[in-house]
Structure formats: C-alpha cells, structure tokens
Symmetry: C2
Subunit: 110 residues, 2 copies
Amino acid sequence: MLEKTTRMNYLYDFYQSLLTPKQRSYMSLYYLDDYSLGEIADEYDVSRQAVYDNIKRTEAMLEEYEEKLLLLQKFQERSKLIASMKDLLKDNPELNNVMLSMIAELEKLD
Amino acid sequence: MLEKTTRMNYLYDFYQSLLTPKQRSYMSLYYLDDYSLGEIADEYDVSRQAVYDNIKRTEAMLEEYEEKLLLLQKFQERSKLIASMKDLLKDNPELNNVMLSMIAELEKLD
C-alpha cells in the first residue's frame, strides 16, 4: 500500500472526472497544493469541519471507485511490466519469447 | 465508431461495476442474452416502457462514464499497440528502437 498522501494523489488523478467541482477544488488544494483545512475553510468561507467532512467523504468515494474499477492497481501492474520490458530491451537483443509473454500479461490487464 | 451493440457490450464490460443491480440485470439480458424489451418486462413484471426508459438511461450513463474515463478508448489504443508489437516481434529480431518507442506510447496512455 502506498503512503496515504501519495495514494490519494494517484486516486485523485484517476477519478477526478467523477467528482463535483467543489470536491475537486478541496482535494486539489489539500493534496496537491498542501493547503491546511483551515486555509481552505477561509478561502471558501465555510467551517473547518465542513471542509474536513467533504474531504473525508471524497476520499471514501475515491477508494470506492478504485474498488470497482481498479485503475490505480492496473496502472501499477502495467508500469511494472513496462519497466521490465525496457530493461530486457536494453540488455538483450534475443528476447522474443520473454517479450511475447510479457505482452500477453499486458493484455490480461484490459 | 463501433456498431452500437458492440459498443454497448464493451462499455457495459468496463463500467458495469458502477451500475445498480437492476441496471446490470436489464443491460445484461438485453445486450448479452439478446432478450427483447417485452421479454425483460415480463420477467420483471414491469411495463415495456419502464424497461426501455431504464435501458436508455443506462446507455447514456455508460457514455458519460466513457466521456470522463475513456477506458474503452484507451483499451482500443493499447490493443492496437500490442498487436503492432506482436507483429514486430514475429518478423524482426532487431527491433529495439521501434519497441522502445511503442512502449513509450503505451506509457502515455496511463
């Protein structure tokens, strides 16, 4: 499991299009721009608690989307495969069989 | 653009986890098992119009998810790249540069 902030950044990246504009604003200030809850509350003229609740709900939604669609998990699996493919290509010109089996793995992820 | 039924089958495949159980049942009977609207209506003891409306709404939702997340589009792009990689591997052992540029394309899709 990734460290929480890193994981939320990734999940936000994959699923932000499914959030409301307000959810996107709060999440992006909190996780990307490193605002505190109090600073976001001041910016939007709402209570710190309201910002906190909204962000907690959004985090839960992002985890639910990931549970259903696995975009982050598949991205991580593809990234590993691609890194291995690159390593192989660097070191070894005779790699048809290995390459083919990795490509087959890649296909299974879709 | 794919033919409508094929496209709906794909979209259903990618986004079914985001639908309600009833939406999943209707869509799966209509698109996968080729039931008519009337047959689904009989099965669930509702009007043909209710089934029709539900399916139309679900189709629109699937298109909206695709507009936001592009899972089908990216799948199609990855499939093309993977097919090209396989062809290259079959025909040519000296393909490091071409392979590396295709892998770079693959990475851009994530």
